[in-house]
Amino acid sequence: MTTKIQDEIAIGRFGEVCVLAADATHVDAFGKFAGRLHALPEGARKLLAHITDLAYREHHDGRKPGVAYLPELHETCGIGVDEMYGLLKQLEQAGFVRVEGEYPFQDVALQDVPCGATEWPLMQDLWRFCKTEPISLRDVVVDLKFKSLA
């Protein structure tokens, strides 16, 4: 499945907007990311899109970038506590997020993706790209519509 997705991925426009080199390394990193995304259940992808939106939208609380707070997730996405922990576990196991801190005071940090010898804040770039174009982040992350990135 991953190979098929990688074959179809082109990220020219994405690279242009985010000032990335749309080179083989980035394409390969994005392809692997897309494969992992594809393997997630839809509910987990929806939560990932919501976490990304909360983590990168403008805040006035001095938070470090790439972090969503559990209380704001609970209040704004209507997912029950138990279901939330289940989905977060799936996202954590798939390497998309890291749950930081100790219960009941936890945060959700988005994970960068390996890109050659470095780490790439792909979700941040994706969020920026979607704001700039503008297209819906959910179209990409939930519905896996990657054509707009080409």
């Binding site: 209380p71 704001e72 209040e75 279901e83 801190g101 100790e102 945060d107």
Partner: protein, 473 residues
């Protein structure tokens, strides 16, 4: 001319439904009167930082801003209709869902909707005085958020009654505003909703344990063949999720504070802490025992022909019906229920159709246990050996096959005298309640919290913890 979309946010085409408009125009003033009399006390002039649903869209149901409490816009929302949805269980399995009430199930559906609807104003009434002892502005805001949403859930049920049940429905809608929690002559329908919520610990326990029963009932009704009921319940579930978060995090913060104090003062006995103005862990256990056991009773009789009938007729499904890997008709299937025989607890197999209440309750118990396990991380993190536990399902039961039995929290069948001799070790005594009430004092300074509860780590909607979540004008 009234702008119905502005006055009552909705996605049920209220503006073009004259019959429904007339019904609501009569009911709305009665609702406002009820809210003024029985809603949160002393809130008429408060500006509260609330989340208001103005649509079911992703960006529409979580709008934050200051709202003057009586001006909160109670809306009517159903999740969008799926024209391909089919009934997923029972004798009508595979048939298209019903968009109108089938005549033969009319009284059953009405009774279910009235019973569910009655719990919504009941909890507001139970909690109406809590604002006066809020441990912080943050908590006060969360209480009011829960209250307005229970009010909105009442609107949701009233919409169904008025839109689909004619004059009977309109009369039932009026009665929902007439019954009163704890009233001697005209009480709320379910027993647990006639108990006063005396303090914030009880409120947090209620939202964790009892609101979760609401979640499981709503989730079962969300499977209903009556599509408007299903779609209404699906949207209500999104709001209910936050209520349970308020409960779980509230109790967690109380545990956290107690553990901090125990650690600070080198205490290891879980009954200690009163001298430092916190709720001892052993007392928290008693509240767990109480709220868990009274909530189990809300599931009704373990063996119930009514539950079987609701299922076979397609009126009410199981929790996550479509994820169950069976025939969705339960033909010949069995389910275990507990009974007492010759002084011993014994498991008996009964037809699964008749044990649907027990099945739903068992699903609930699984989820509650996961929450208690999360709470237990807190003493563990603080190096305290005490762990909260759920009592046996037969403990302190008034409904079901174990009603009237005297069963200890660890599942031992006892005589009445033996059980009563231990009662105050297991359940909060009058003195325990008095102690917890003594801890409750209203804290109005932004960012400050009562001594018995730890502050949250984060504020609401990216606001800081010392944000003025409630403004007093």
């Amino acid at each position: 001319m009234i702008d119905y979309t502005e006055k009552i946010p909705n996605n049920v085409e209220l503006a073009s439904d004259k019959t429904l408009q007339r019904a609501l125009e009569k009911w709305q003033p009665a609702f406002q009167g009820w809210w003024s009399d029985m809603g949160p006390a002393g809130t008429k002039d408060l500006q509260v930082y609330l989340r208001t649903a103005i649509s079911v869209d992703r960006d529409g149901w979580a709008n934050f801003g200051y709202v003057k409490m009586p001006d909160y816009r109670w809306g009517i929302f159903l999740v969008p209709r799926d024209d391909n949805r089919k009934i997923a269980f029972g004798d009508h399995m595979g048939e298209p869902v019903w968009q109108e009430v089938p005549g033969e199930y009319r009284s059953t559906l009405r009774r279910i909707i009235v019973t569910q609807g009655d719990t919504e104003p009941a909890s507001v009434e139970q909690q109406r005085l809590l604002g006066r002892t809020a441990p912080s502005l943050y908590d006060m805001r969360n209480l009011f958020q829960v209250n307005v949403e229970e009010g909105r859930h009442l609107w949701a049920m009233v919409y169904l009654l008025q839109r689909y049940f004619g004059r009977d429905g309109r009369e039932e809608a009026e009665r929902l505003l007439e019954r009163r929690s704890g009233h001697a002559d005209n009480p709320r329908i379910l027993g647990a909703f006639n108990e006063e919520t005396r303090h914030w610990l009880a409120f947090f326990m209620f939202t964790f344990f009892t609101d979760r029963d609401g979640k499981f009932q709503l989730a079962s009704l969300a499977e209903s063949g009556f599509d408007p009921l299903s779609r209404t319940c699906r949207f209500m579930l999104t709001e209910e999720a936050h209520h349970m978060f308020v409960g779980e995090s509230g109790v967690a913060r109380a545990i956290q504070r107690t553990c901090e104090v125990m650690k600070e003062h080198g205490l290891s006995d879980p009954s200690e802490g009163r001298q430092f103005g916190v709720v001892p862990l052993s007392l928290l256990q008693k509240f767990v025992n109480f709220h868990y056991s009274v909530t189990l009773d809300l599931y009704g009789s373990d063996v119930s022909s009514n539950a079987a009938s609701y299922y076979t007729t397609g009126v009410k499904g199981r929790y996550e019906e479509t994820k169950q890997g069976d025939d969705h008709k339960l033909v010949g299937a069995e389910y275990p229920v507990l009974e007492v025989e010759n002084g011993q607890l014994v498991e008996k197999k009964v037809p699964a159709l008749n044990a649907l209440n027990a099945k739903l309750r068992d699903d609930y118990v699984d989820e509650i246990q996961a929450g208690v396990n999360r709470w237990n991380r807190i003493p563990e993190q603080n190096g305290i050996s005490f762990r909260l536990t759920l009592p046996h399902v037969g403990f302190h039961r008034k409904i079901g096959t174990l009603a009237g039995q005297f069963i200890s929290p660890d599942g031992k069948v006892m005589t009445e005298a033996e059980w009563n001799a231990h009662r105050d070790e297991w359940l909060p005594s009058a003195e325990d309640h008095k102690y917890v009430e003594s801890l409750m004092g209203q804290v109005l300074e932004p960012g400050k919290f009562a001594n018995w509860i730890a502050p949250p780590a984060r504020g609401i909607n990216s606001q800081p913890i010392d944000f003025e979540y409630v403004r007093f004008n």
